[in-house]
């Protein structure tokens, strides 16, 4: 399924720079945190 598990290695195998993978996963983490906070109000 993937070139290499864990997923972050998969992106590196696809040619992404290490710092690029790290930054993109950080961005996803921030977005998920924002969505999580919004659940305080959305219920």
């Amino acid at each position: 399924m993937e070139m290499m598990a864990i997923r972050l290695k998969h992106f590196e195998m696809k040619g992404w720079e290490e710092s690029e993978v790290v930054a993109c996963l950080r961005i996803i983490a921030i977005l998920l945190a924002s969505l999580s906070i919004s659940t305080f109000k959305l219920r």
Partner: protein
Amino acid sequence: MLYLLLYPLHTEFAALNVFRYLSFRLIYAAITAFLIAFVLAPPLIRRLQAIKVGQHIREDGPSSHLSKEGTPTMGGMLILFAVMLATVLWADITNPYVWLALGATFGYGMIGFADDYRKFTGNKSRGLTAGQKIVAQGLLALAIGLFFYYLPGYSTKLNVPFFKNFTPDLGLFYIPFAVLVIVGSSNAVNLTDGLDGLAVGPIMIAALAYTIVAYVVGNKIMSDYLLIPHIEGAGELAVFTAAIFGASLGFLWFNTYPATVFMGDVGSLPLGAALGTVAVVSKHELLLLLVGGVFVIEAISVIFQVASFKSRGKRIFLMAPIHHHFEMKGWEEPKVVVRLWIIAILLALLSLSTLKLR
């Protein structure tokens, strides 16, 4: 806009009552701005590549930067579009502060666009000279300063971090002070924009800090509790700063090392001016020195370098702005960037602590 359109329907659809809450709207402004920037960036990058809007790399800079030659620039247009659209969608558009912040951002964006266009065409006569640029920035900031000075009920007293009772009244001098804050902030962000993701990271962090400041300042109960001035309506600016945070985050996906697009002056000048304007509206102008400490350090490094070279004939740093100094010392570009982000986060936390520590 959604607030005006949907909230009045809450009597029929109870779920729409959620649009009343600033906290809800600012989070979704951030997410909307992120999605706009994230979705539109790839076609914009392809378009910029097609019309060959590539960054010119200074030949006297670090040699590792020469490989960046031709990377598409002017991606800041996307940030501006995302910020403006998300703000108009989620903020209360009857609020004058929202339009003031959007106007300042758009105006500085136009100045940055003209400046980028000059670099892109290589024809200086078709763009702005450094003098014209600073005059245009100054005039726009002067208009904002005058707006505040003549705004009924707006105080010209300064709110000094860590001091509860020391609030010097600048009177008429508040106008040049506001000009200094906005123009200074705009140019400091512009100087910082020299490495992949370096400017956009601290912008996000400063925008997040000012989202909290604007929210607190606009809330009567919280501002009374914290003994800070309450500015009626300033809370809506939290939607604007949250949109800056979201749009910058979406842009960072493509601007992180190795960058596939640069923001250019069309991004850095208006984002700096936006932070300056929010600092003025929220009456936390001096706090910007701390929140945007990374920008201050970068600007000061250039001032000291130039002053030292002109007065003593010696340089303080291997290269200015200071991020190039660290590169010349052998630090990898991502390391310089992330370490300056860490400093920005620490300074933002320290800044927020001043809301209580006074």
